[in-house]
């Protein structure tokens, strides 16, 4: 079986498609910290320097989803689904001017998923 760490809802995909049409290639980066943190942020590809400390969790609708290694160590036993909700934000994430925010919904990995993905 090929299990995934990340998934995306239809509603979030439709917002992502609007952003792709406007900006071209994109990436997701999961933010920690306060205020607008603990949220997935979407940027134009190349906007953010990525290093060996940024872990690629998977691809959503053709878009790479990254998280910092330190944070990943605490998150890797969970499966993440990118959803979207109404809201205003102050970060640089590109969906914000549309009046929506990407949001993460999480569940535990199943034992099967965990043994394939984390071993």
């Amino acid at each position: 079986m090929n299990y995934t760490r990340v998934a995306i809802t239809e509603a979030a995909t439709s917002i992502l498609d609007q952003l792709k049409a406007k900006y071209g290639d994109l990436i997701f980066h999961q933010s920690g910290g306060c205020c607008d943190g603990s949220s997935p942020m979407v940027f134009e590809e190349g906007e953010m320097y990525l290093y060996e400390s940024d872990i690629l969790l998977g691809q959503l609708d053709g878009i790479n989803y990254y998280m910092n290694q330190d944070q990943f160590d605490y998150w890797k036993h969970t499966h993440l689904t990118v959803d979207v909700t109404e809201g205003r934000g102050a970060s640089f994430s590109l969906e914000i001017p549309l009046g929506v925010r990407f949001i993460i919904r999480s569940r535990l990995l199943t034992p099967e998923e965990n043994s394939e993905l984390n071993n």
Binding site: C34, D36, S39, T85, A90, I96
Partner: protein
């Protein structure tokens, strides 16, 4: 409280003097502090007036011009304040810039005409701002949040006095400002031999919180600031339960009646679990505390420092040695000792580790907005003798 930070920096700059050293009989070195120039400041939405009052006064007192971008969730405060005080400043010295992050914040942070950026917010945005600053070789200061431990040693329960009452309140301060505070004491660490008795008091006090209309002076906890915050907090309550955290109180949205029926209310929540759970590691920014027990000082420190962040911490004890030694061993920029959530001017505040750097609310912040001009003066009439 906000006004005090303005007064503090207004006084601090008047009381300051430059330094001078006589390096040898003919040579004098003068150190003069000069402004950096134009400062970009990006502030968050959780305390719109106080965050502005931490950032603007030290930058202005040291002679800079400022372009300040308030958060789009709370744009009015800065505008209303400036309508009252704009005529105090010469034209162009204070500028308020509104707009969404990608359209206003990013251009401000990356503009080559800016000499320094001060930011409070989240880690990914902080990383981007540092990246933009590297393009212009500009300094930055940033505060990026925390997951602050609030540690209660067994001696707090040695007597049923006013201090114990204060300690119980200190544990319940996780719900202050609906938990939308960077230093929210969101990890509660309680020594195992007092755990049951102490937590019974904390739960009782948490359940006595009055949650109602924020405009009512009797209200202790109001609504979250936005729908996306509300949704984010609920999703954390869900993953907390899935990871096996036990809900000691709260654990759900709070439904109020009448005009408040669709408000973003979350019940003050206590989750019991262990420090590797995501609810112990991520900033929920809601009225949610994750509690665990420890057996001794070593374990308390191990748990307290097992976090990416290092913004705040609380240490509560009646043992003077413990208060000092534990506080020194915690990797955080502010350790509240037998108190929490006190933010006076002249006590420097900011983080260790991924919580950022820079020290606000203290005169040392003035040097983060300045550069030093060294005038090296020779009073010797004779040449060096090289040429």
């Amino acid at each position: 409280m906000s006004v005090d930070h303005w007064r503090y920096f207004a006084s601090a700059i008047r009381a300051e003097e430059s330094t001078m050293s006589e390096l040898d009989i003919h040579t004098v070195s003068l150190n003069l502090k000069e402004p950096l120039g134009v400062i970009g400041q990006i502030i968050p939405w959780n305390f719109p007036l106080l965050m502005l009052s931490w950032k603007l006064p030290p930058a202005l007192a040291t002679g800079n011009c400022v372009i300040l971008k308030p958060a789009e969730q709370t744009p009015s405060t800065a505008t209303l304040l400036m309508e009252k005080i704009a005529d105090v400043f010469p034209p162009g010295v204070v500028n308020i810039l509104h707009g969404f992050g990608p359209e206003a914040g990013k251009p401000l942070a990356s503009h080559s005409g800016i000499d320094k950026v001060a930011f409070t917010g989240e880690t990914t945005t902080g990383q981007l701002i540092m990246q933009y600053a590297s393009k212009n070789l500009n300094p930055v200061t940033m505060e990026l949040g925390g997951k602050s431990p609030n540690i209660f040693f067994n001696s707090v329960m040695d007597a049923g006095d006013a201090f114990l009452d204060k300690a119980i309140e200190g544990a319940v301060l996780f719900a202050f400002n609906q938990g939308e505070v960077c230093t929210c004491p969101s990890r509660l660490l309680v020594q195992e031999d007092i755990y049951d008795a102490f937590m019974a008091r904390v739960i009782e006090r948490t359940e006595a919180i009055i949650q109602d209309n924020p405009y009512d002076v009797n209200t202790m906890v109001g609504a979250q600031a936005s729908n996306d915050q509300y949704e984010k907090i609920l999703s954390y309550l869900e993953i907390g339960r899935e990871e096996g955290a036990k809900v000691l109180t709260g654990g759900a949205a709070c439904h109020l009646d009448g005009d408040l029926a669709n408000g973003f209310y979350i019940q003050p929540t206590i989750l019991e679990g262990h420090n590797k759970m995501r609810v112990f590691q991520e900033e929920i920014f809601g009225p949610v505390v994750a509690v665990t027990k420890f057996k001794d000082e070593a374990e308390a420190l191990e748990i307290a420092n097992d976090t990416l962040y290092g913004l705040g911490a609380g240490v509560w004890s009646r043992d003077a040695h413990q208060l000092y030694q534990i506080s020194r061993a915690i990797k955080a920029g502010r350790v509240w000792v037998n108190c929490y959530h006190v933010h006076p001017a002249h006590a420097p505040f900011r983080g260790y580790k991924k919580s950022g750097f820079g020290r606000e609310t203290h005169l040392m912040m003035m040097n983060h907005y300045r550069q030093t001009k060294n005038m090296l003066i020779s009073y010797d009439k004779n040449k060096l003798g090289f040429f």
